[in-house]
Amino acid sequence: MNSEKITKYILFSASLLILIIAGGMVYSLIRGAMPAFDFFGWKFIFSTHWDPTQGHEQYGALPFIAGTLFTSFLALLIALPMAFSTSLFVAEYFRKKRIAVVLSTFVDLLAGVPSIVYGLWGFYTLRPFIVELGLSPQGFGIFTSGLILAIMIIPYATSLSTEIITMVPNELKEAAYSLGATRMEVIFNVIVPNARSGIIASYILAFGRALGETMAVTMLIGNSNNIPNGLFGTGNTMASVIANQFAEASGLQLSSLIAIGLLLFAITALINAFGKYIIKKLAAR
């Protein structure tokens, strides 16, 4: 064998590592989750009851699935107008201006803040504020977590959609202006329709981020095992219940937490694959 072949062989072997990690991940999660699924069957996903008390152990993941979806949708809802405005600010209204560079640097920095720091800020600054407003007695819960999550995903929702909006051809905007359209009309009739799939993809990927965020949510959601009762109710997300209960878990509870990890893995992988698929279709166009 010559050296060229050896080099290529080494590179190929390295690529196997990715497949081993991914394959192993799925295998280990399924194997770890098996006892829980064996014991509870489909009820594991649809049961609302989660009780680790020795003797009458019972594990159902629905409260956490609900908590995850609830907080993530709320986060997306709050982040949407902010992210959309920011992309318009950077890619359209103040394109290439100094102020746009400043804003996008700020937004990039937002992406660099560690999750736990968001959690602290939420706990020590945002939570008392929510208590003061009288929205909830302790300030924990869906709303507080959703708000923090929104801030955390803004950079992800913004960066790609900014890029896509920048790529809308100037000629099309000029065509619309020459027909008497105002800037707002150009934005909603030319820019948005032409950048639509990219904008949607970036929001999907941001949503995927929100689903798996752990520390900040763990510190703010209130850590209860029930389906959240309303916007200011407490609960747990799939990620936060693992973080909260992992240390004391063993046996069936550990298996149930791993099963929740498996579900979380599946949901985020699906959402991400969907977002990436849209982007790829876009790139092929």
Partner: protein
């Protein structure tokens, strides 16, 4: 051809007066966009400002050279209005140990896989690997923590360990480095590589003498960004490295890290003021790394 008079008539029909409404809406949108954009920039200022105000007075020499005090000492200091003695040296060394070892695994493998994907652009297998890499990049960090717990904590080190922490961090780094390597290599002019190949240069030399040197800036950016991402990771370490009140350099032992210490302080009401100093330190480090990598990336795009 159309009758000219008819056109003249039709021309005069157009005086619809939505104009004021339309201009108003147009201005309103600008105001809304500026308002919401300002609102987006607001949190980062608040967060950094908050940490600076609450955290700076705890940062001193001891902060970098001593381990945290026990909760009783902290309580005494707090009640007498003094700053809490001690520091976070066990966290700093733990972070250096785990991030360092994670980089040692993830950087060479990431670059090799990135080069492989770059060489095989459209091959079916390469596309598959690329998609899997994307999936891996989206896996929540807590799930990676779970997996490493199953793989390393239970099976290899039989207990929480720095090795487990490092491996979970390296799994998070790997996809980032792979994709940034591939993207950077794509920007190398193909003629550069062809010239080397035409001279009969062996392939491994092409990699080390052409591909890597001419994409060094991009590789550095990718590495720095991936390091800045994992520096603040807490969730996977909770499940793998656990924490350690003393300085530990052994891979087989439980180890602390700066974010793990923050989590620990958060759960201990006596340590509150150490939380902010540690967070300030961590944020300062992460954001500086971010800005440096941006600088490198910007410089590279100018060339």
């Amino acid at each position: 051809m159309k009758n000219t008079d008819l056109i003249e008539n039709e021309r005069n029909v157009f005086v619809n007066d939505h104009q004021k409404v339309r201009n108003f809406k147009n201005k309103l949108l600008l105001v809304v966009v500026v308002l919401f954009s300002a609102l987006t920039a607001f949190p980062i200022i608040l967060i950094v400002g908050n940490l600076l105000v609450k955290g700076y007075h705890q940062i001193n020499l001891a902060f970098f050279t001593q381990v945290p005090p026990d909760t009783f000492t902290a309580m005494m200091a707090k009640s007498s209005g003094q700053i809490i003695p001690g520091g976070i040296v066990n966290g700093i060394t733990g972070t250096i140990l785990m991030v360092g070892f994670a980089s040692l695994i993830a950087i060479p493998f990431g670059i090799m896989i990135g080069i492989y994907l770059y060489e095989k652009k459209d091959a079916r297998y390469a596309n598959f690997v690329r998609n899997i890499t994307d999936v891996l990049q989206g896996v929540p960090s807590i799930v990676i923590g779970l997996i490493t717990y199953l793989w390393v904590v239970i099976s290899i080190t039989k207990g929480y360990s720095a090795l487990a922490g490092s491996i979970s961090l390296s799994i998070m780094m790997l996809p980032l480095i792979i994709r940034s390597t591939e993207e950077t290599m794509k920007m190398i002019p193909p003629t550069l590589k062809e010239a080397a190949v035409a001279l009969g240069t062996p392939y491994h030399k092409v990699i080390f003498k052409v591909l890597i040197p001419s994409s060094l800036g991009g590789l550095m950016t990718g590495i720095l960004i991936s390091i800045s991402r994992i520096l603040g990771e807490t969730a996977p370490l909770l499940l793998t490295a656990l924490g350690n009140p003393a300085v530990n350099w052994k891979l087989s032992q439980p180890t602390s890290s700066v974010p793990l210490l923050i989590w620990q302080f958060y759960n201990d009401p006596n340590m509150v003021s150490l939380i902010f100093s540690s967070s300030l330190f961590l944020m300062g480090f992460v954001l500086t790394l971010n800005l440096i990598s941006k600088r490198i990336a910007a410089k590279r795009s100018i060339q």
